[in-house]
């Protein structure tokens, strides 16, 4: 076990990526990006990591360079945020369709406009359906752990998919936390050398990214969907292995004081930590409330989720993005759909919170929990609210 040290989480993410010995790092290192690429370029420049660092001219090029490098069999890493992630969008489904295990850290930030670089989840929600395995972290330790896990998950032969690790912009990326940083020997033991399924090489010509006519496209999409569905087992196995070696446990849906809870709150990302404090206070007052935290967003862990909400009377889903003119926040829409066929399901409310860096405090979670528990009958127009919007 390494030492526990205080570290800015973006720098810790870069250190964790470096411990995975990537061959190629391509990134566009200015705003809206975080310190991750900047610190990785330092690590390479200092000679601590033997990698090709490509300082590209845009995020579109960053992910394209990663895609090409991964095609040659290189272990590849990038990081971005917000508009940068949107600029990558054209290439994101190509990386997953080519089954290339690129790993990317997303420092989740709002999408403009108005111009805003602070934290919410609107950037990743636009990329939800690009076929990447998608993980959400709640703190700095989980960031380090999941960056290392991501390579193992993505590179597994039953997966061969890109993985993104979502860490809240500013709330996490720019914050200093005490973190156990594993040492090189430990990471090497956990993460074997990448053995690619196929490699682009002039000596053995092959094609990646060929034309897919209507006669094959359906089947290609079905195969891709199967791949990401099957990745769940690998995610769970990798997490078990991690727990065995490093002693920290990961679950697709993490529960906090859900024993006997009638009201459940559900969060994704760092706000779960604030919600925990609210749960503690409510429990002190005898209010039967618990918290669920989504760690695995894609593939969505339906089975684990249904099990986790069993017995609850009310469920409040916290979203960090808006689906304008839609049925509620993107997380809520999926949660409600996942429970549609359940004979006994909780009453569900949706709070869209913390948009563009708006602070959500312990008292806010207490208010939302109480409102959820006291709402008797829901009208269709009550399906979701943008919490805290001044009227």
């Amino acid at each position: 076990m390494g030492k526990r040290i205080g570290m800015e989480i973006a720098l810790a993410a870069a250190e964790a990526a470096a411990l995975c010995r990537p061959d190629v790092i391509a990134a566009y290192p200015i705003t809206p990006n975080t310190h991750i690429p900047e610190h990785l370029s330092d690590i390479v420049a200092e000679g601590r990591l033997d990698a090709e660092y490509i300082c590209v001219e845009s995020e579109h090029s960053a992910i394209s360079a990663c895609c090409g490098a991964s095609g040659t069999g290189a272990r590849t890493f990038t990081a971005t945020s917000s508009q940068g992630l949107l600029f990558m969008q054209e290439v994101l489904p190509i990386v997953s369709s080519l089954r290339l295990p690129v790993v990317m850290v997303i420092g989740n930030r709002a999408v403009s406009g108005p111009i805003n670089i602070w934290n919410d989840h609107s950037d990743i929600m636009y990329q939800r359906d690009t076929g990447w395995v998608s993980l959400f972290v709640a703190n700095g330790q989980e960031t380090v752990d999941m960056v290392i896990q991501a390579f193992k998950i993505g590179e597994h032969r039953d997966v061969m998919l890109p993985v993104n690790i979502n860490i809240d912009g500013f709330q996490l990326t720019h914050v200093v936390e005490p973190i156990f940083m594993p040492d090189q020997e430990e990471v090497d033991r956990f993460l074997p050398t990448y053995k690619p399924f196929a490699q682009l090489h002039p000596d053995k010509p092959m094609t990646m990214g060929a034309l897919g006519l209507p006669e094959i496209f359906n089947e290609a999409m079905r195969a891709k969907d199967e791949a990401i569905l099957r990745s769940k087992k690998v995610v769970l196995d990798v997490w078990k292995e991690w727990e065995k070696q490093f002693g920290r446990k990961y679950e697709p849906i993490e529960s906090y004081k859900t024993e006997g809870a009638e009201t459940l709150l559900m969060t994704m990302g760092s706000m779960g930590e604030t919600a925990e404090i609210a749960i503690d206070e409510l429990r002190k007052d005898g209010f039967p409330v618990g918290l669920l935290k989504i760690k695995l967003w894609r593939p969505f862990p339906f089975e684990e989720f249904r099990k986790a909400v069993k017995g609850a009377k009310c469920l409040a889903v916290m979203d960090r993005a808006v689906s304008f003119g839609g049925p509620g926040g993107p997380v809520f829409a999926e949660i409600r759909s996942a429970l549609y066929d359940e004979p006994k399901k909780p009453k569900m409310l949706n709070f869209i919170i913390g948009l563009g860096g708006r602070d959500v405090q312990v008292e806010d979670f207490i208010k939302m929990a109480k409102k959820t528990a006291s709402t008797k009958k829901l009208k269709p127009e009550d399906a979701y609210e943008i919490y805290g919007a001044r009227e």
Partner: protein, 97 residues
Amino acid sequence: MSEKKWPETWQEVNPGCMVFRPGSASEYHTGSWRAKRPIWDNAKCIKCGVCYIFCPEGCITEDADGFFAANFDYCKGCGICAHECWPKAIVMVNEED
């Protein structure tokens, strides 16, 4: 047994739709897309090779006498060769005619 043109079922799709047989794209004859075909008038041709250079399909070849012709297995009939030809030695004619 002749090889399948494409995978029958989704289970047969190679991961990432990778193709391990080089040059297999040449088996797909894009010539069937053609509505017009280029016809060379060798009396006007100055053998400059501009048609050969501009052909986006790379389907124009030079014969032993230095004249050019398109391979109609692949020529899509885009007409770029006719457009670029300085002495107007190439005309596009409708396929049905």
